[in-house]
């Protein structure tokens, strides 16, 4: 258990890190009328939550794909999962909100603790867990039969959460996903009519609308162009502190730019994946302990 990295409480951003937040254009507060923020009824408890994996293993059928992952994803911080293809990063991410069990024949072992409670505990319902731990997928998947506005509100409808001010929630969620300015005049148009990058930010807004404690992102930018990627990264930077983010990425620069903590996954041929090294992103990219990590972050393999 010595490998497990425990973050300092409160999650102070590390020095010399985080070049993105400095560039983010802030929305002028005075331009908007001061309003009661929309209030959700029946949603997740407020605030970011710490996610912790203890000896997590995953199988597809008899095939062990992930072995003994111990990882802490501190509240309000961005944790990136890096590693070559097929090393179990996405599987691990799907363990974190119980999407893994939807695959026929999938199994898991170990514990995933959300603020100390095992999400695989007998008293936990997967639907509650997934409402608390949102997910953004690799391929943008807005609901084609719904308008932009209905897409944002889809989470409320689907998990029966009530809201005092739906229009305000739509605005707030789109604003947090930095999409509001681009779509505020066409909220009633179908979500499928947006560009790929806008669709992905719409999906982020949709996940944020239910006020999750954790947001999982599975290669959210791999299908996007550099400009859209930058917008999504800005969004991630703005969400820091409000929600815990776990992001899987193949883009080393992106992991370096957006994340506070980083975990490097690796799998030998026909062997299950495991975490080689984890820790603060600055250390992982600057002075990693394991030579394999150094080789990987410098692009020498994978």
């Amino acid at each position: 258990m010595t490998e497990t990295y425990i973050a300092p409480a409160g999650g102070e951003p590390l020095d010399g890190h985080d070049p993105v937040t400095a560039q983010v254009p802030t929305v002028p507060e005075a331009a908007r009328p001061a309003k009661e923020p929309p209030h959700l009824i029946g949603g997740p408890p407020p605030g970011a939550a710490t996610l912790e994996a203890k000896d997590a293993c995953a199988w597809f059928g008899d095939h062990l794909v992930l072995e003994g992952v111990d990882l802490v994803m501190p509240a309000g911080e961005v944790t990136s999962l890096i590693g070559p293809s097929g090393c179990g990063k996405s599987t691990f991410l799907r363990l974190l909100n119980r999407m893994h069990e939807l695959v026929p024949g999938a199994a898991m072992d170990g514990e995933i603790l959300l603020d100390g409670d095992d999400i695989y505990g007998a008293a936990m319902r997967p639907q509650q867990i997934r409402a608390r731990i949102g997910m953004v997928f690799q391929k943008p998947n807005p609901f084609p039969a719904m308008s932009i506005k209905d897409n944002v509100l889809a989470g409320l409808k689907l998990s029966r959460i009530k809201c005092t001010d739906k229009d305000g929630l739509v605005e707030q969620s789109l604003m947090r996903a930095s999409l509001w300015k681009e779509v505020r005049d066409r909220l009633d148009q179908p979500g499928g009519g947006l560009s790929g990058g806008q669709q992905q930010r719409l999906c982020i807004a949709r996940s944020l609308a239910v006020a999750p404690n954790v947001l999982l992102m599975d290669e959210p930018c791999s299908a996007l162009d550099p400009t859209s990627t930058r917008r999504v990264e800005e969004t991630i930077a703005e969400l820091r502190g409000e929600v815990t983010i776990v992001i899987v990425t193949h883009n080393m620069q992106q992991a370096n730019r957006v994340s506070d903590y980083c975990a490097f996954f690796l799998a030998e041929e026909n062997e299950p994946g495991y975490v080689v090294e984890q820790g603060a992103t600055t250390k992982m990219f600057g002075d990693p302990d394991d030579p394999r990590t150094l080789d990987y972050v410098e692009g020498r393999f994978g």
């Binding site: 909100n97 999407m99 939807l102 026929p104 639907q127 509650q128 867990i129 997934r130 409402a131 608390r132 949102g134 997910m135 997928f137 391929k139 998947n141 609901f143 084609p144 039969a145 719904m146 889809a154 989470g155 409808k157 689907l158 998990s159 029966r160 179908p190 499928g192 009519g193 999906c203 949709r206 996940s207 239910v210």
Partner: protein, 370 residues
């Protein structure tokens, strides 16, 4: 140029066959003549194109001709059928067909006397009730097959496939044997009436609709279901709020295609609706007419006027089904695609000065037109 070569090949192949079968030998009958002429046409056309444009083009033309011929062979019976019914039915069809029943019509009356309003009403009612019964059941079965992970899916799928392959007369017999024979004497609802016909039609309609909807549901991307589940939704809510709305136009198409198929079914109605020459607008009591039964009875009569009346009914049935298919096409059209397909090019401004041009020597030389 291709057309000229094809025409010349056709003329020479027919001339060749005429020479062989009409002048030199005793002939092999009209079917053999055209079959040999077709093969000769393919050979001549292939060789001519081979000589003119080379092997690749020759094979291309040959396959194109074969594909077109196959299309025409499939289309000919359909066109003949439609024209036959049109020619036979149109003289007997008058506006009165849509406003009158067979009340007061005697066999010596001309074919245009009386009408089939009672049959149209019967068909609409029976098929409508059948749809109300089988759409929810068929849709639920399709959802069960596609959206659950039950072990029973395999047997259910085999069962649905078997049911859709069942002869439709069996469904009529099934209702006759299980409902009409044991229950009719106590309750008029279970006598010969339109409702029994609807039940018999649902038996054949349900598997049709189920399979059509299942195909549409399978087209809904799995990512949308995952997205719904990741928002904290139950599986049932995802099906209801995400999958079905996404597939809605396909589901509507499936329903309309189911109606169109059932509207032409005759066999399930023989022992259930029974047929009736006068108006019976109440589907829950007493024998009722429908268009297929109307056709079935009149076409077998010995009198020319009755047969013509049957053809008029067939024409009306075909028009009804054509309308339903048209509605299905309009409903099932992918609206997003139709909008983005550009049919006209809007006026564009003159080309901006300084747009990038390929450097000298890189542009391809202009091709000579063939």
């Amino acid at each position: 140029m291709d057309g000229v070569v094809a025409g010349a090949a056709a003329v020479s192949s027919i001339s060749l066959c005429w020479l062989i079968f009409s002048v030199l030998t005793d002939g092999i009958g009209w079917f053999g003549f055209w079959l040999v002429a077709y093969v000769a046409f393919l050979a001549i056309y292939f060789v001519a194109t081979l000589d003119r444009l080379g092997r690749l083009a020759a094979v291309d033309r040959l396959v194109t001709v074969v594909a077109w011929s196959a299309m025409i062979i499939v289309l000919v019976p359909l066109v003949l059928l439609v024209f036959y019914v049109l020619v036979k039915g149109l003289p007997a069809l008058s506006l009165g067909f849509f406003t009158h029943t067979q009340r007061g019509i005697v066999p010596s009356d001309p074919a245009t006397a009386g009408g089939g309003l009672h049959a149209i009403v019967g068909t609409l009612e029976q098929v409508g009730i059948a749809l109300v019964i089988s759409l929810p059941l068929g849709a639920m079965a399709a959802i069960f097959l596609n959206e659950t992970r039950s072990r029973l899916r395999r047997p259910v799928r085999i069962f649905v496939d078997a049911m859709s392959g069942m002869p439709s007369v069996v469904s009529g017999l099934f209702i006759y044997a299980t409902l009409i024979i044991p229950l009719a004497k106590d309750n008029s609802l279970f006598g010969y009436d339109g409702f029994m016909a609807s039940l018999a039609l649902s038996v054949t309609m349900m598997p049709t609709i189920c399979r059509a909807i299942e195909v549409v549901l399978r087209l809904v991307p799995a990512g949308l279901r995952e997205a719904g589940l990741a928002l904290g939704s139950s599986r049932a809510k995802v099906v209801w709020s995400v999958v079905l709305p996404t597939a809605s136009s396909g589901v509507a198409t499936a329903a309309i295609l189911g109606i169109a198929r059932e509207a032409g079914e005759t066999a399930p109605l023989l022992f259930t609706a029974f047929g009736y020459n006068f108006m019976n607008a109440n589907p829950f009591s007493g024998p009722q007419e429908s268009l297929p039964l109307f056709i079935y009875r009149f076409i077998r009569e010995p009198l020319a006027s009755s047969i013509a009346r049957g053809f008029a009914g067939a024409l009306v049935l075909m028009i009804l089904i054509l309308l339903l298919f048209a509605v299905a096409r309009i409903v099932g059209r992918d609206r997003t695609k139709a909008r983005s397909r550009r049919r006209w090019i809007p006026a564009r401004p003159p080309r901006r000065a300084g747009t990038a041009q390929p450097p000298d020597g890189l542009a391809l030389p202009a091709q000579e037109a063939q």
